[in-house]
Amino acid sequence: MIVRKLLLSDRGSQLFFAVLLATTVLVPLLNAVVPDGSMLHLPNYSVALIGKYMTYALMAISVDLIWGYCGILSLGHTAFFALGGYAMGMYLMRQIGTRGVYGDPVLPDFMVFLNWKELPWFWQGMDHFGFAMLMVVVAPGLLAWLFGWFAFRSRVTGVYLSIITQALTYALLLAFFRNEMGFGGNNGLTDFKDLLGFDLQAQHTRIGLFLATAIALALSYAACRYIIGSRLGRVVEAVRDAESRTRFIGYKVENVKLWLWTFSAVIAGIAGALYVPQVGIINPGEFAPINSIEVVVWVAVGGRGTLYGAALGALLVNYAKTYFTAALPEVWLYALGALFVGVTLFLPQGIVGLITKLARNRTTS
């Protein structure tokens, strides 16, 4: 009810939910109901592509929550995304069973290849869907909590914190590249067959994953919006604007940051878990610092501190990326950099800021 009340005063969020609802209804219809030959038919790979974009939007919202509202610029947030993804990937690996190349009923192929005789302790229980889903939330949440506990308690802020987050994700990247870590080394986890008994290549599974992503996006958005609209949300913005003042009026700033940071990491983990079955692979490349920076660019382009702006930015930049990497692959990284510089210089509030400014000018003139 409170969320509904909040939404009534927030045009952007209304629009976000309207678009999300329309997409959620239209995509499965155009894919499953409209016949194959029709112009309006949406191929299976497009369903997965749109689903992937939605996990990016979820990721962008998670970064906007801590950057836009609390001023913590994380340049390592895909560490949490990848951890959630690996948790999901481990479940999917265990589902392969005897269908692997080596046909071992318990060990995934890469372990047989490494001559391992038994499953490492951290792979135990990952064949249970419930437990694996718990790990999707616990693994990134626990890492974020530990990291935040040390960082915020020692009052590391600003650019120093950003650098440490980047070091964190880079350290994980290097660790996951090692075969001995037991996560498939540089090949990562792939060749997934099915999820909860449903064939991952099947149309209805794709639609199911798409719907699950849409629901996760809607619920996470509503949860973030609730937090922002609560008094805690005002405290969070107070921390961003005047941290020591917030401390002197009696708030434990480190607890506020730690709580929000951990929550944000959990959302990122869920995004990663939904991403992996839709793209069919998770490898250490997901930990790469450039990925985290890209997320920050999405949020900056869309307009930070609005949530819906972050989602919009994720869609636009990724659409551009899909286009550029196909048409002009060597240009993409330069375009990304130029985009970030351009937005920072000319559109500090992003596209959303530009639109609100234009709208305001029109009403006043």
Binding site: W145, L232, R234, D241, R245, G250, K252
Partner: protein, 266 residues
């Protein structure tokens, strides 16, 4: 995954109740602080009575701000003790714990939350359980709203209730910050240079405000503006090189040869 200890920390920190049985609210005894060999405070002894309005003056570098930092937990002294009433050991508490125990601090530069309305600024400062989980589900009650409105009247900003605090004038920001201190229901207010940069009318209004607050609160004002100090102070403490040089009424202090030497000497 979020531990009970983490969410419950504010409950644990509820400081022991303030004991004013000797009518002294603040004891600073033998406090020394040095930064890289420079002694910012040197065996400072200071006692503030309950309900008193005390002005602290002194040349630049006398240690006024460092003293405030020690009281509010921002700086830990090398030696000495700091007690709030008879029972609260300030040196064992963190900044938010000291704030919750009842010491409010106004900074030299007005620090308010520019992207929140005046009302929201006061709401955030309001005394109460400030643990994360409590704040997430907090609702403002009508008594609390009334209390905020009454503070808005006290600081003369009723008509700015729903204005973003960032758009207030300098003087209004200073008053808002004093209002935020009042919302914390503190016993002791520390006010650092409240009239710097204010117009004469604003200065006068601030003097009235601070005088009206003393009695129900103890107020310690650090100020450079001598005319302002004269208009509000009953007791003045002069700090010099990190310790107390003189203490007494404004007239006593101004005629003290040591003070004259420090302020007027070579």
């Amino acid at each position: 995954m979020i531990g009970g200890r983490f969410l419950g920390q504010n409950r644990r920190s509820a400081a022991p109740r303030l004991d004013l049985s000797h009518n002294i609210i603040l004891y600073l005894e033998g406090i020394s602080v040095s930064f890289d060999g420079f002694k910012a405070l040197n065996d400072l002894n200071l006692y503030i009575e309950a309900g008193e309005l005390r002005c602290i003056i002194g040349p630049n570098g006398a240690g006024k701000t460092t003293m405030m930092d020690v009281i509010t937990g921002k700086t830990r002294p090398d030696t000495g003790s700091a007690w709030f009433g008879q029972t609260v050991d300030l040196l064992s508490l963190s900044e938010p714990e000291i704030a919750t125990a009842g010491i409010g601090r106004k900074f030299q530069k007005p620090t308010i939350f520019p992207n929140h309305t005046t009302f929201e600024n006061l709401e955030l400062a309001m005394a109460g359980d400030k643990a994360v989980w409590k704040v997430l589900f907090a609702r403002i009650s009508s008594e609390q709203a009334d209390r905020i409105d009454s503070v808005l009247r006290t600081i003369g900003l009723s008509d700015k209730r729903n204005v973003l605090a960032g758009s207030l004038s300098h003087g209004q920001k200073q008053w808002l910050e004093i209002g935020m201190l009042l919302m914390q229901s503190p016993e002791l207010l520390l006010v650092d240079e409240p009239v710097a940069g204010m117009t004469p009318q604003e200065t006068e209004r601030t003097a009235e405000l601070l005088v009206s607050l003393s009695g129900t609160h103890s107020v310690v004002v650090v100020e450079h503006d001598m005319a302002f100090v004269r208009s509000i102070a009953r007791t003045v403490t002069v700090l010099h090189q990190g310790s107390v040089l003189a203490e007494g009424s404004m007239d006593q202090v101004q005629n003290d040869p040591k003070v004259i030497e420090v302020y007027l000497g070579d």
